[in-house]
C-alpha cells in the first residue's frame, strides 16, 4: 500500500481555487485554515439537535461540547496548561462552608455568548433551576437530590444551599470529559418546552460557532468566533493563531479512517486498532501520537478490567476471583489486544495521568509483599513487578526496535507490574473455594454443580477490547473454566441489571489529573448497592464492603484537595486488591493519531497540556496551542 500514497494526497484532498489555496471541496473553506477531526459518535442522528441538556442527545461530540459549550471548571486528565484544575467560567475554585452545605461560586467577568449577550449568574441559576423543573433532563435528579435553594449574590456570584452535606457538589460543573454546561437563559427562557427544543443553531459560549452541518449528520463545521477573546479559552494561549475552522466528521470504518488520514483528509483520528497506528506512523512521519512511538495511544483515565458479577455462585468467592486473576496471562492479553502497547495496572485505578505518582509507585512495596493463602497450608506472593518489561520484550519480538528496552521508559509508558500467571496457584485457590476439576478437566463445584461463565465483549468501535476479551476467555478456558464469549452491543445494558457473569469493560473512571477518587468511588457505597434485576449504576460488580463504606464517608467529609484523600485512596486500593472484586487490567488506551501536515502543536507525553482524544471537552485546549504549518 505504500508508495501509492503520494498520488492519493492530491486527488481526493480537494480542488485548488484560483488563489492557489486548497479549498475543501464543497465546504468552501481553505484547507490550511481548517482542522478536520473525527467525531467518534459517527453519524449524528438527529444531526440538528444541539440541546445538550437532555440525556438522549448523541450529536454533541461533533464539536458542540468541545468548541461550543462551556462550564465552570475544567480538570485535565493530564497535566493541563495552567495546572490540572482550571477555572473556566468560574474565577476561583468553589468555596464551601465548613460542613459542606453551602457552595459559593464566583464567576469570571467579560465572557460573552456568541450572540453578544454577556454570561452572568442568571445563566448559571437558570441552568440549575430549569433542569430541576423538567424531569428527564441530564441533571434533573442530581440537582433535585442536593440543591435546596440558590442565592444570587451578585451578577457574578452565586451561593447554592445544599439539602445535605456534599463536598463534591462542584463536580457537577467540573468538566472531566463533560459536565453540566451553561445554558443561555436569554434563549431558553423564550422556549416553551425545553426538553424538545433543538437549540438550532446553538448560541455558544465556547470559542467557536457552528457554521454549517450536514443534514445527514456526517459532518459539522465550526468557525472561530471573531470575539474569541471574550471566551474562557482566550486566557490559555494565542487563540488567534488557532484554526479558523474545525470540521468534525464521521470517520467511517477503521480502514477508511486510515485511508483518509493517508490522503490527509483527516487530521485527528480518534481511535482505532493498534495496527492502524503502526501503519500510519510507519508510512509517514507527519503522523503523531501521544507517546512518540510505542505504545502510541493515550491512556484514558479509565480502567479496563474483567468485571465480575459477585452475586453469581462461585464468583461470590474471593478465592475464585483471585484464581481467575492468576489464570490470566497478561503477556498474551497485552499482545493480543494491543500488540503489547498496553499500560497495565494491577490495582483498580487507571495507570494514567498523575495516578502512578499518587498510587501505583507508592504501593509497589505493598504489592510485592502481598501474600495469598492457597488453602493447602502454602502461601503465594502473586505480584510480578517485572510484568511490563516482560510484555515489552514480547512486543519486541513482533514489532522490533520501536519497542523501548529502557526500564524507566517502559515504566512510564506501560506501567510496572501485574499478577503472576500461575495456574497451579490458581488451581489451589479454586480447590480452596470448594471446586474440583471433573473428568473433562473442567472446574465444577464439589457437589457436582457446574461452574459456567458467559463472558461478554463489545462489538462496536473498540476492536482492541474485544480482542482482549477473547484472550481472557481463551486463558480461562485453558485453565478449565467452562466459559463462552458473547460479543454483543447491548452488554452494558445487561451488566447494569446484573444479567451477566463477567465482562471486559471499564467502570472505574477518575479525574485523571487529580488524585480524588470520588468520581467513581461514591457509587460503590453500599447505599447505592442494587441486587440483580435492578440497575446498579456504576457498581455492576455489586461489591459491598463495610470498610469501603467508611472510607467513602470519610472522604466525603474532606475537601477534594485535602491530602488525606490520597491516603484513604490507598487504603481503598488495598481493600479492593485483597477482595479482587474485579480484575484490573490496564488503562483504556485510545489510539489517537494526529497529522502534522497542516497543523502542529498537538499534545503529547512530552507536552501533556491536555488530552488529544477529540471527543473530550478538554480537547478545546488543543485549539489554544495548534499552529498552522503554513502549508
Amino acid at each position: 500500500l505504500t508508495g501509492c500514497q503520494k498520488k492519493a494526497d492530491g486527488a481526493a484532498g480537494g480542488t485548488a481555487s484560483s488563489a492557489n489555496v486548497q479549498m475543501i471541496e464543497g465546504a468552501n473553506v481553505p484547507r490550511n485554515e481548517t482542522i478536520i477531526l473525527e467525531n467518534p459518535g459517527g453519524r449524528a442522528n438527529p444531526p440538528d439537535y444541539f440541546n445538550r441538556w437532555n440525556g438522549w442527545n448523541t450529536s454533541f461530540m461533533g464539536g458542540l461540547q468541545q468548541l461550543g459549550l462551556d462550564s465552570l471548571w475544567f480538570i485535565d486528565p493530564d497535566a493541563g496548561i495552567d495546572g490540572v484544575w482550571e477555572n473556566a467560567l468560574a474565577s476561583e475554585h468553589p468555596i464551601y462552608n465548613k460542613d459542606f452545605t453551602e457552595m459559593t461560586i464566583k464567576l469570571r467577568e467579560g465572557i460573552y455568548w456568541s450572540d453578544g449577550v454577556q454570561f452572568t449568574a442568571d445563566d448559571l441559576i437558570y441552568t440549575i433551576e430549569i433542569q430541576m423543573k423538567n424531569p428527564g433532563m441530564d441533571y434533573t435528579s442530581r440537582f433535585n437530590a442536593y440543591v435546596d435553594r440558590i442565592q444570587k449574590i451578585s451578577d457574578f456570584e452565586v451561593k447554592i444551599f445544599l439539602k445535605q452535606p456534599n463536598s463534591r457538589f462542584h463536580a457537577n460543573f467540573l468538566v472531566r470529559w463533560n459536565a453540566c454546561f451553561m445554558m443561555p437563559k436569554h434563549i431558553f427562557e423564550k422556549v416553551e418546552d425545553v426538553t424538545t427544543y433543538k437549540f438550532n443553531p446553538p448560541v455558544t459560549l465556547g470559542p467557536y460557532t457552528l457554521k454549517d452541518f450536514d443534514p445527514q449528520g456526517n459532518w459539522y463545521l465550526w468557525e472561530k468566533r471573531p470575539d474569541y477573546q471574550r471566551t474562557t479559552l482566550a486566557r490559555m494561549g494565542d487563540v488567534g493563531a488557532a484554526p479558523k475552522y474545525a470540521m468534525y466528521i464521521n470517520g467511517g470504518t477503521s480502514d477508511v479512517k486510515v485511508m483518509s488520514a493517508q490522503a490527509h483528509q483527516l487530521d485527528v483520528i480518534h481511535d482505532m486498532a493498534v495496527e492502524g497506528v503502526i501503519r500510519l506512523t510507519k508510512a509517514n512521519k507527519s503522523f503523531k501520537t501521544w507517546f512518540p512511538g510505542f505504545p502510541w495511544g493515550h491512556p484514558d483515565p479509565t480502567l479496563v478490567a474483567c468485571i465480575l458479577n459477585l452475586e453469581k455462585p462461585g464468583l461470590n468467592n474471593k478465592d475464585v476471583r483471585w484464581a481467575l486473576a492468576l489464570a490470566l496471562d497478561i503477556n498474551r492479553l497485552a499482545i493480543a489486544s494491543y500488540r503489547g502497547a498496553m499500560t497495565i495496572s494491577p490495582i483498580p485505578v487507571p495507570p494514567t495521568g498523575m495516578y502512578p505518582e499518587y498510587y501505583h509507585t507508592p504501593l509497589q512495596q505493598w504489592l510485592s509483599d502481598y501474600t495469598l493463602d492457597l488453602g493447602d497450608g502454602t502461601t503465594f506472593k502473586p505480584y510480578n513487578s517485572n510484568a511490563a518489561v516482560e510484555i515489552a520484550a514480547k512486543a519486541r519480538d513482533d514489532l522490533g526496535d520501536i519497542v523501548p528496552t529502557d526500564p524507566t521508559a517502559i515504566k512510564r509508558y506501560m506501567g510496572e507490574g501485574w499478577w503472576k500467571y500461575d495456574v497451579n496457584a490458581a488451581a489451589k485457590l479454586m480447590q480452596k473455594a470448594g471446586l474440583r476439576k471433573n473428568s473433562r478437566g473442567v472446574w465444577e463445584f464439589n457437589d457436582g454443580k457446574p461452574f459456567k461463565m458467559v463472558f461478554m465483549g463489545q462489538t462496536d468501535n473498540e476492536p482492541s477490547q474485544n480482542r482482549a476479551a477473547a484472550m481472557v476467555v481463551e486463558c480461562w478456558k485453558e485453565f478449565g473454566i467452562d466459559i463462552t464469549l458473547d460479543v454483543r452491543s447491548d452488554f452494558g445494558t445487561l451488566a447494569g441489571t446484573g444479567d451477566f457473569d463477567g465482562e471486559f469493560y471499564w467502570n472505574i473512571e477518575t479525574w485523571g489529573g487529580h488524585p480524588d477518587l470520588s468520581f467513581f468511588l461514591d457509587s460503590f457505597h453500599s447505599n447505592q448497592y442494587r441486587g440483580i434485576g435492578e440497575n446498579a449504576a456504576r457498581n455492576v460488580s455489586r461489591w459491598k464492603n463495610k470498610r469501603m463504606d467508611e472510607i467513602i464517608e470519610a472522604c466525603q467529609k474532606l475537601d477534594m484537595d485535602d491530602p488525606q484523600v490520597v491516603e484513604y485512596g490507598k487504603e481503598w486500593i488495598k481493600l479492593a486488591v485483597d477482595e479482587m472484586f474485579e480484575i484490573a487490567v490496564c488503562s483504556y488506551n485510545v489510539f489517537t493519531v494526529m497529522d502534522d501536515t497542516y497543523w502542529t502543536g498537538y499534545p503529547s507525553i512530552d507536552d501533556p497540556y491536555t488530552d488529544p482524544v477529540p471527543n473530550w471537552t478538554n480537547s478545546r485546549y488543543m485549539f489554544a496551542k495548534l499552529r498552522s504549518t503554513g502549508k
Partner: protein
C-alpha cells in the same frame, strides 16, 4: 371487471393485509422477548456519556423514560397502541435519537438508499439478465463462457471484502473515486447540478460493488430460464424466418423469461432495506443500512422495528403492485 376485482384484486389485497399483519406482529414480538430492555439501554447510554448517577436517580430516570417511550402498560396494550400508531403513520420515536420520530430518521435516509440501491439493483438486474440471456443463446461463445464462470466466482466473495477491495483499489491505490460518503464532507446537499454530479461521482464505487456482486445471481437465474425457452417452437420459428439474432434474443427469448425475474426484482427490493447495511457501513453512505447498523449497535428497538416494518410494507406493496399489473405484462396470465 367486477369479476376481476372480486376474484383477483380483493383476495390479493386480503393476502397483502394478512402478510403485513403477520410480519408486523412478528416484528413486535421478537424485541419484547429480548433480555435487553430499551429503557435500560438508554440509561446506559446516558451513563457512558459521563453523567454520574446513583441508583435512586436511575430509578427516577427510568420511570420518566418509560413514560416518554410509551412503554407503560401490558404487552397487549402496547400492541394495540402500536397498531393504533402505525395506522397514523407513526412508527414511534427512536430511542437512541430520542425524541426524533423513527419516520423522520427513515425519511432522511431513505432517498439515499433508494437512489443508490434501486439504481444499482436495477442495473445489476439488467446486466445480469442480459448476460444470462446472451449466454444461453450463444452457448458456444468463449467470452460469455468466461463471464459465466467469473460471475459465479465473484458471487461467493463476501460482500464486505469485495467492497473493501474495490475501495482500496479505486480510491486508495489508484484514487480515481472518493473513499467514502455520498458527497464530500463539508458539502451541503442542494438541488444544484454540481451537487447532483458530485453525488453521482460518489455513487460510482458503491454502485459498482453492488453490481459486481449482484450480477451473478440474476445471470444464473436468467440463464436457466432462457435455456428452456431457446428450444421453444417460437424461437426456432423466428430463426427459420431469418429474424436477426438480436431481435430473437430480446423479443423472443429474454422477453419470455422476464416475468419470474421481475417478481424476483420486486422481492429483491427487500435487500434495499437490509442487505445494504454492509455497503453503507463501508462507504459511509448515509442511507437506511447505516441507520439500521447504528440502530443495532445502540439497541434502538423502535428504530430496528421501524426499518423492518418499513421494509415489510415496502416489499409487500411492491409485490402487490406487481401482481396487480402482471396481467398487463403477460397476456397469458389468467385466472381459473
Amino acid at each position: 371487471m367486477k369479476k376481476f376485482l372480486l376474484n383477483y384484486v380483493l383476495p390479493r389485497i386480503g393476502q397483502y393485509i394478512m402478510v403485513i399483519f403477520v410480519g408486523v406482529t412478528v416484528t413486535f414480538i421478537i424485541p419484547r422477548l429480548s433480555p435487553s430492555d430499551p429503557v435500560q439501554a438508554q440509561i446506559n447510554r446516558t451513563m457512558t456519556s459521563g453523567v454520574n448517577y446513583t441508583p435512586d436517580m436511575l430509578d427516577d430516570f427510568r420511570a420518566s423514560l418509560t413514560a416518554l417511550y410509551g412503554l407503560e402498560g401490558s404487552n397487549w396494550e402496547q400492541y394495540l397502541e402500536f397498531w393504533g400508531r402505525l395506522f397514523r403513520g407513526d412508527l414511534g420515536r427512536s430511542l437512541s435519537s430520542f425524541p426524533t420520530p423513527v419516520t423522520e430518521l427513515i425519511g432522511r435516509s431513505m432517498p439515499w438508499t433508494l437512489g443508490l440501491l434501486l439504481t444499482a439493483t436495477i442495473i445489476s438486474w439488467i446486466v445480469g439478465n442480459l448476460l444470462g440471456g446472451f449466454s444461453s443463446y450463444y452457448p458456444k461463445s468463449k467470452l460469455l463462457g468466461s463471464i459465466d464462470v467469473i460471475s459465479q466466482a465473484v458471487r461467493p466473495i463476501p460482500y464486505y471484502i469485495l467492497a473493501l477491495l474495490l475501495v482500496i483499489f479505486f480510491a486508495y491505490i489508484w484514487p480515481i473515486f472518493p473513499i467514502r460518503g455520498a458527497y464530500p464532507m463539508g458539502m451541503r446537499p442542494s438541488y444544484t447540478w454540481k451537487f447532483v454530479t458530485t453525488v453521482l461521482y460518489h455513487s460510482v464505487l458503491p454502485a459498482f460493488s453492488l453490481i459486481v456482486g449482484g450480477v451473478g445471481g440474476w445471470f444464473i437465474g436468467m440463464k436457466s430460464l432462457t435455456s428452456n425457452i431457446i428450444s421453444e417452437d417460437y424461437v426456432v420459428y423466428a430463426e427459420t424466418a431469418g429474424l436477426k439474432q438480436n431481435k430473437i434474443l430480446f423479443g423472443y427469448v429474454i422477453r419470455n423469461a422476464m416475468l419470474p425475474q421481475i417478481t424476483g426484482l420486486a422481492l429483491n427490493l427487500g435487500m434495499i432495506f437490509n442487505g445494504a447495511m454492509i455497503l453503507e457501513v463501508i462507504f459511509t453512505y448515509p442511507g437506511i443500512g447505516l441507520l439500521a447498523y447504528q440502530a443495532i449497535l445502540s439497541t434502538d428497538y423502535t428504530l430496528i422495528m421501524g426499518i423492518t416494518i418499513f421494509s415489510i410494507i415496502g416489499v409487500a406493496t411492491a409485490a402487490l403492485i406487481l401482481d396487480l399489473v402482471y396481467p398487463l405484462f403477460d397476456p397469458r396470465v389468467r385466472i381459473q
